[in-house]
Amino acid sequence: MASGGVLEIGQEGAAAADATESRRQDAALLVRLRRGEPDAFEQLVRTHQDRLYDFCVRMLGDREEAHDLVQEIFVSVHQNVRRFREDSKLSTWLFRITRNHCINRLKYLKRRGRGRSEVYDEATALFTEGGGTAPGPDAALESARERARVQWAISQLEPDARMLVALRDIEGLSYDEIIDITELPEGTVKSRLHRAREKLADLLGRLEP
């Protein structure tokens, strides 16, 4: 179950080698980005777009908003890449920018009066159509329903808790990375994540037949 759990010695070595290789690739990409090579920026976008988009959908609960926001985020990355101090992984820095944009967008949407209930209509409709029934023969439909149920439950959480669930349980980041992204102490991250998981267990339990 754990993605950051105890590793065997051989696995630890492989993980360390992967991390070194990933750092080396990040550094090479950054050099090209700072030189202003358009191909490098396109590579950055294509490498990270799925994860950042998924994170934004979890946070905002709206694909249209997420689509628009991810574009804004990459534009902001393009403008600020020279300021990246390389004190963390490139992906961690991207998540930090994404997190800030998501929080700002959520505040903006709240001011505009777009609360959660409106935002999650699609998900709500999907799981209430078939929620609580036995899995149908269509695996794709069941997968979509499951995704909708989980998304609905996540949308009931406060943004801070939503963010921790998305980063840890969905994106599979380590606690060190999450601490770096959220700038929260480890104890706070863990206690908030624990409460969020308990609440999700409760919410998802209510949807069971």
Binding site: A2, G5, Q49, H78, E146, V150, K190
Partner: protein, 127 residues
């Protein structure tokens, strides 16, 4: 009863519900040292409520980890690149470059801005 179980019962006080539940996060992450994990598991074996709570908790974490990811729309990268190009052409960087190339001294710029403001006011206030 195994030797380890006996030692836990002899030396350490039995884990209570609250303590066991507080360790669910670490147990789900496989982050507990083996003796502590055994202590929690022993409590779960003897406590129906906590066992059910753990099953709900663990299955929720598993569902979250297994949920299908959202994939970015295919045109996203192209849209980002065209936004960046537009921004480069008309954005702040362009303004900044213009300012650097055609910089006006402050003693000229301020009277010019004031004059423009007065002119705008007169135009708007005119009947």
């Amino acid at each position: 009863m195994s030797g380890i179980h006996r030692r836990l019962q002899d030396v350490e006080p039995r884990m209570d519900h609250r303590e066991a539940q507080a360790l669910f996060l670490a147990l789900a992450d496989d982050d507990l040292p083996a003796p502590k994990a055994l202590e929690v598991r022993t409590h779960l074996d003897g406590c129906e409520d906590c066992r059910q709570g753990w099953q709900r908790y663990a299955s929720t974490v598993k569902r979250l980890q297994g949920v299908a990811r959202e994939k970015a729309p295919p045109a996203l990268a192209t849209m980002v690149l065209s936004r960046v190009r537009r921004k480069r052409r008309f954005g702040l960087r362009g303004l900044h470059a213009m300012h650097m190339n055609h910089r006006l001294p402050v003693e000229i710029l301020i009277p010019l801005l004031l004059a423009a403001a007065v002119a705008a006011f007169l135009v708007l206030a005119a009947p």
